[in-house]
């Protein structure tokens, strides 16, 4: 174990010293800071556009709305509404738009088949309609109900929205933490895809570089495989911690608090959820790191690495989507499978735990299966690594692999 730790420390330190590591991590962290600042950047652009007129001209020549359109200015829609009964030609409106005196114009006319709102804007594109037409529909309803002789109180009663409530009859859990669980799934997938995958690169590189002959005489194959996986794993976890810390600090410092209200509620985080998340994150990450180590042990040429790693990414993707499916469909019978299958349980179980959709028995069985899978894959990785280094340069096909398992040494 001491040797494995020395290999792990050496691997981790040398991986961190690499320029590629520093640059990639810096780009990722910068990306996170920028992402959390997007609302501020949008706001900044809006503020810079303050000299731009935010007036919307509303033309109601026949006073169809009976003066009710003035209410638009009290609705805090983000625009100033200039109500007029004066007729304007298209050219006059175009002129106002070009001079930036108005943002848009709405011409209200009465047609034979109803009221027509003609929205006039400089150009049509995504987001060019600044006001929801339903506001005008609602206001028009008020006008019409008034004409029918209803009092303001009656009109308010008619327009009142229906009360809608969801009641969960099961034990229930913190549904607001599903967003957190989803976030953790993504972080785990990122860690697997970006960090754990470096284990196979590191093992293949060492196998194909001639250093392996010196290394193998100094330390056992088990210490090399475990040490490499631990070392790269540690670097990966450091990256994940750096990503989460940066995201958390950026959220606290820069992100407008009202945007995620109702989506993510950290006040419901329990010790159990944190513990289960950490356990599954570490076990899941370790499982995939050893799968990558196995892949690195099997490969004899670095050029084959991309293809083999791609296959593992597909496996991780299947695990991720199985978990995603179980989050979206809590009643599905696939959920139990997702919680027990080692490739998907690290993604699935934390989410099922917070919605209390998993029993303690299944939770324990899931952890045991995951640990046994890690041990089995680590054993295979070490066995194949040990045999393959005696055989490097030659292709390791399925038949050779079976023969390698039969070897009694190493």
């Amino acid at each position: 174990m001491k040797d494995a730790l020395i290999v792990a420390r050496f691997t981790a330190i040398e991986a961190v010293k690499k320029k590629s590591f520093k640059i990639t991590l810096a780009i990722i962290l910068l990306g996170i800071i920028i992402a959390f600042n997007i609302p501020n950047i949008i706001k900044l652009f809006k503020d810079n556009d303050s000299n731009k007129n935010d007036t919307i001209l509303v033309i109601d020549q026949k006073d169809i709305y009976k003066g009710l359109l003035e209410n638009l200015n009290s609705m805090e829609l983000g625009y100033k509404f200039e109500i007029t009964k004066d007729s304007k030609t298209s050219n006059e409106i175009k002129d106002l738009l070009e001079k930036d005196e108005i943002e848009a114009a709405i011409d209200i006319t009465e047609e034979t088949d109803g009221i027509k709102l003609n929205y006039l804007t400089e150009s049509i594109g995504f987001g060019s309609v600044l006001v929801d037409e339903s506001i005008f529909t609602e206001l028009y309803k008020v006008v019409k109900l008034g004409e029918l002789g209803l009092s303001e109180k009656d009109i308010a009663y008619v327009n009142a929205p229906l009360l809608f409530e969801i009641t969960e009859l099961g034990e229930g859990g913190s549904i607001n933490l599903l967003g957190v669980a989803m976030g953790l799934c993504m972080v785990l997938f990122f860690a697997i895809f970006y960090c754990a995958n470096q284990v196979s690169a590191s093992i293949t590189q060492e196998k194909t570089s001639k250093i392996i002959d010196t290394l193998i005489t100094s330390v056992s194959p088990r210490s090399i495989v475990v040490g490499k996986t631990l070392g790269i794993g540690l670097v990966g976890l450091m990256e994940v911690v750096a990503v989460i810390t940066t995201a958390f600090v950026s959220y606290k410092l820069f992100f407008p608090k009202d945007i995620l209200t109702g989506i993510i509620d950290l006040s419901n985080v329990t010790f159990g959820f944190v513990l289960i998340s950490i356990i599954y994150f570490i076990l899941g990450y370790t499982l995939y790191a050893f799968i990558y180590a196995l892949c690195g042990s099997l490969i004899s040429k670095p050029e084959d690495l991309g293809q083999a790693s791609g296959l593992i990414s597909i496996v991780a993707l299947i695990g991720f989507y199985l978990a995603y499916f179980s989050m979206m469909n809590p009643a599905s019978s696939l959920n139990k499978l997702a919680s027990l299958l080692p490739i998907s349980s690290p993604f699935s179980v934390p989410a099922r735990f917070i919605t209390r959709a998993i029993s303690i028995e299944i939770l324990l069985i899931s952890i045991i299966i995951l640990i046994l899978s890690i041990a089995l894959i680590a054993y295979c990785a070490i066995k194949i690594y040990s045999s393959a280094i005696l055989n490097y340069g030659t292709k390791v096909d399925l038949k050779t692999m079976i023969e390698m398992f039969k070897q009694k040494d190493n």
Binding site: E14, D213, T214, T217, D409
Partner: protein
């Protein structure tokens, strides 16, 4: 130290790579382990160092079965390799640590060996920036810096310039004087003849020749004659049905079937008053013996 390798066998994926091989190291010296490519030398070394397990036979150190931990060894493999992007100091320190040397002693040892091999200026340089010869010297340091009792050197001088070859040769001899057991594997037979007292030749996993090098060579009769004269002796060679396989300015190399045939030739030349500058009955070199044994 008494290292015994007795009737050792190893099969790897249905191929017998070591077949009933035996040898022993009883005193500090340089032992030559020879063989063609794929003869089983590296497998023997790995089994001897406890890296892989034997299928059968005995490998003992001072009477006890060998395990990886029991033997303090240094190994310079034929396949040279260093971490290209890591400084010389850091990789030497890493290997020292996994060999169980504490950082303080390792630091001392690294600096001692770098100075001894005139490599101190490269201490903080990445390995990829070193010449092939200098990388080889670092590999040599890796093999000796933990003060091992047994040192295995696989082609230690290949690729080195004459100055560095001489430097390394002197260090190898110095190590033997210090009581180290050295196993040297090389395809350069002249180097084996220069260094080794005992040899073992492997071919396809089997031992085809082993013993004291001098005794082996003495057991062979001379099989060629070297003659330097002032005149052409072709007609005399024809009389004895001999033919020179090399003749440069009356410097002849002639194959003979026995030493008697050589003496007959000498008698004939003196009888015909041929002026001879040199006449030498030559025994087969290790190179010839190797070709004869392993080339079959």
């Amino acid at each position: 130290m008494h290292l015994v390798f007795k009737n050792v066998n190893k099969t790897y994926i249905k191929k017998k790579v070591v077949d009933n091989v035996s040898f022993e190291l009883t005193k500090p010296s340089i032992f030559g382990l020879l063989g063609t490519n794929g003869a089983g030398k590296t497998t023997c070394i790995r089994m001897m160092l406890g890296i892989i397990k034997k299928d059968s036979g005995e490998i003992t150190l001072d009477g006890k079965s060998i395990t990886r931990k029991d033997i303090n060894f240094g190994y310079m493999p034929e396949e040279r390799g260093l971490y290209p992007k890591i400084t010389i100091y850091n990789q030497l320190m890493f290997f020292s640590e996994i060999k169980g040397i504490n950082r303080k002693d390792a630091d001392k040892s690294i600096k001692y060996w770098l100075k001894k091999l005139d490599m101190m200026e490269y201490i903080n340089m990445n390995a990829e920036k070193l010449s092939k010869g200098n990388q080889q010297k670092i590999q040599f340091i890796l093999a000796v810096m933990n003060e091992p009792d047994l040192i295995v050197l696989d082609e230690p001088f290949s690729g080195l310039d004459p100055v560095n070859t001489e430097l390394l040769k002197n260090i190898v001899l110095e190590l033997t004087k210090q009581g180290k057991y050295i196993i040297m594997s090389s395809h350069q037979m002249a180097q084996i003849e220069e260094f080794c007292s005992d040899i073992l030749i492997l071919n396809k996993g089997k031992c085809i020749l082993q013993g004291n090098l001098k005794e082996i060579k003495d057991s062979y009769e001379a099989n060629k004659v070297e003659i330097i004269t002032h005149e052409n002796i072709e007609k005399h060679l024809k009389e004895l049905n001999l033919k020179a396989y090399q003749n440069v300015n009356n410097n002849y190399l002639i194959n003979i079937k026995s030493e008697d045939e050589g003496y007959k030739l000498f008698d004939l030349l003196t009888k015909n008053k041929v002026r001879i500058t040199k006449f030498e009955l030559k025994k087969p070199s290790l190179h010839d013996i190797f070709i004869e044994k392993a080339g079959k």
